[in-house]
Symmetry: C3
Subunit: 367 residues, 3 copies
């Protein structure tokens, strides 16, 4: 099996040069297992290129297996990095980190990824039009998926007396409903209504896909590497966060979401600069929907197997408000089908204000 295309990709894509931090991280962990801050920074830097590789390998496998299976792979493995990080945190019993990263990826995609796409696209093009019908459809899906995900939190928030057993049962039932919805959603987007999502499926079509063997090998090897790096990340995050004055909520919400989504962001921003905002909107909203409909319920179900105790879907009130605002914002700004740089600025500023709030928030509040 030739690794030629892999090396070519590494030469071409500067993001992948960060791969040098993967061996550095493992070396540092051997040498100084107590240097939590250093290990945290190195693991963050190491995850970014691994996520980019995973994304490229997934797309290559998808391109070689035909539309139906390929779409299925893209749809399930598209957020593989976030999922591996979350499973590692789940196994370590860090449920706050898991929940914060679920909420954070949705908010980050709906505000930061979308807003930066508008901003970067708008700096190059005076005013950009995009397909309103598709964008509205995807924004509706995201809104509905998020609302469904938030029902246990909203009920518990509104009625403080409802109790933990109720929340756990509701979360489990909800997880099953969401997974069925996700399955139907794949039937819809891959089988009956493929044309609604067509332009989004395969990312940057400029690149030629890797050979099957290389792609599968990379997929397997990099998944293992992400798991190993995540292990260090999760083990070091608490002390490192304290050293940087960050709350666990901030780390889960902002850091995990930005790090895990770096590869998708690169695609979305490049689409925006090429005046293909449809692509950017599709990546941002589609990936956020996938977290709500697939990753979050999978993590609830997995918590019964790998976690120390069942995890519910109850988020702290601030996260609920941020998620609702983020998805409503995404629905409002994509609704017009027209964008200019200042719209991007405002959406990104709302994200910055959320990040600032989470950074300043006393840790106990999100507990």
């Amino acid at each position: 099996m030739s690794v030629q295309p892999l090396l070519a990709e590494i030469r071409r894509n500067r993001l992948l040069w960060l791969l040098v931090f993967v061996p550095l991280l493992f070396a540092a962990e051997m040498a100084k297992p107590e240097a939590h801050t250093l290990l945290f920074v190195l693991s963050v830097l190491a995850i970014v290129p691994l996520a980019a590789l995973l994304s490229h390998a997934t797309e290559s496998v998808a391109a070689r297996t035909g539309d139906a299976i390929g779409g299925l792979l893209n749809a399930t493995l598209g957020n593989l990095t976030e999922m591996v990080i979350a499973i590692t945190a789940l196994a370590a019993g860090q449920y706050l980190l898991v929940k914060a990263s679920i909420a954070g990826v949705i908010v980050t995609n709906a505000l930061f990824m979308l807003g930066m796409s508008f901003l970067l696209g708008g700096l190059k093009h005076h005013s950009q039009e995009f397909n309103r019908v598709g964008a509205r459809f995807q924004a509706s899906l995201l809104f509905l998926a998020t609302v469904a995900l938030l029902v246990p939190s909203a009920v518990t928030f509104a009625d403080a007396t409802s109790g933990a057993a109720f929340t756990r049962t509701l979360s489990l039932g909800l997880a099953l409903v969401l997974i069925v919805a996700y399955g139907l959603g794949m039937l819809f987007s891959l089988k009956t209504h493929r044309e609604f999502f067509g332009s989004v499926a395969h990312g940057d079509e400029g690149e030629s896909p890797w050979p099957m063997g290389l792609a599968l090998g990379t997929l397997a090897a990099v998944t293992v590497l992400v798991a190993l790096v995540s292990h260090v990340f999760v083990a070091s995050v608490q002390q490192a966060a304290e050293a940087f004055g960050m709350t666990p909520a901030f780390v889960g919400f902002i850091v995990v979401a930005l790090v895990g989504g770096a590869a998708e962001m690169a695609s979305a921003f490049s689409g925006a600069r090429k005046n293909r905002l449809d692509l950017s909107v599709g990546i941002a909203l589609g990936s956020a929907s996938q977290i709500a409909l697939f990753v979050a319920p999978m993590l609830v179900l997995l918590s019964y197997v790998v976690g120390p105790a069942p995890m519910d879907l109850q988020l702290w009130p601030g996260a609920v408000i941020m998620m609702l605002i983020a998805t409503l914002t995404a629905a409002l700004v994509t609704n017009g089908g027209r964008s200019a740089w200042f719209l991007g600025v405002l959406v990104v500023f709302v994200y910055l204000i959320f990040a600032m709030t989470l950074y300043l928030l006393p840790p106990r509040v999100t507990g």
Copy 2:
């Protein structure tokens, strides 16, 4: 007066075959007045065909009296079943049941009726377009009517110290404002801007209207029957709900709304399958607006006459959140003017999750 058309309608419409449960219910009540669960089930089964008959009789009177008075009748008697059930519960002092059924009809229309219309229409037609301008206008009306209805709950929710006297005064003032708004709304839809609502007014125009005498006689007789059946329903609901493990909130919110709206749903779903989604959207949103602008304030005013004490419009927080989400969802999904089956699936799933939550919720929370 010939009852021929009535018998013909009963032969034609299988929903009306359930009329057999009306005499069965009265027989059972005579024989076993303590069999609450049986009486509950029979009364539910008996209300469905009576509601369908009421709806048909109202439309026949409306068709014979010309557009203005006909429209007025349709608009005031369209939710007659729900209103008779609610008045019976009001007289029995079951305010939680009354309030839950107000909230439930709005949520059920905006989510279940709309979502099932999208789903059933989408299973037959690949992608359905509907009149965006009309749908948006009606979704805006519903949103505003719901927001107005929710002000007392929101204020009391936000400021727990505001007190019962304040809530009661505010509810009374609000009821008067809403009824004025409703009157102006009828002026608008029947007089000045009839063309906005034209296609919706007369339901399935395939059926020929009954003669006036038969229609009026049916209207009167069936209203009395609904009142009698509602009486049994309200008397049996509490014990029966306990036997089925249902909270009063669940019964009011889900059961009353589904049972009372069965006839309208049959029209909406049949419209959707005939690719007339405008009709379905109009029925679903129009009927929900009518509950907020007319039925709810009428019940507040009536509570001063028939109830043991004045009723306010304060709902429990979970109901407020569900109503806001339902009307926002209706606004978002009708906004695009395009539907496909999966959109319907998601809207119905949000409804299912709400129903599941209400079913699991401990009873005291909604008290």
Copy 3:
């Protein structure tokens, strides 16, 4: 410097005849400094024509200085009246009044000014179309600006334990972010994307601008007069409000907003009756955005200089809910690009219900 055009304007514009109350107010304050109720009524009547003069003078300066500087002036001085009132209240330590007036101007513009424009326009024209793209863009800006403004309140509302120091730091950081956003927004609307806002910038173009000297002189003199009148207003408001049975929240939210915005409302309503709803929507939403992005953060920063203590941006929960509902409503109703009188009625009724609620609310709740 000829004051001829000033006198001509006073003869032409009947709103300015209220100027007679300015000397009456100062006379009354000399004669009866304890007659709080009288002073309050007179100061309200005196502010209305001063606000109209300020607005006219600002537009004249703007028209004479060319588009860029003129736009800048219009954008910063457009809410000068509200700002002078708020600064006077700030210096007097009446923070509740300041915050209520910030919230109130946003809600009043988004509901009352917009709704009355729809209603007054709709009474003259059967159905009015307006530029959807522009209106949606402005509604998105207003929604985002309001959301940003509400983050400290939402977080504190959701997490009661977060503490005053946190809220103050967050409010300060937020004020800086909002001012940067405002600066970028001016760059956007005056420089890079002037055509998006073009039709709105100069108000009623029927009037010929005043000579520069007169305009600048009027601007300076009237600002001083507004400050003097505001001083009496703020000093008398508390006792007068009690005499009328009004809470401070009601005065700030409703009275200040209606009084300070009278001149803009006159322009918006006149635009609506001339079937230029674009103008009305632009004034209503643009002025509300300006309060959120410029006036509110300026007041936070100024509180460090002129106030007895730093002011945070934490509003009471009811105000947060009203602001969110008002901006969502504005987004929904402008979304369709079509208006008729009943839509205006409903929007105005939501405002009336808010006003009724604030009037009935016990004073301690908003404390």
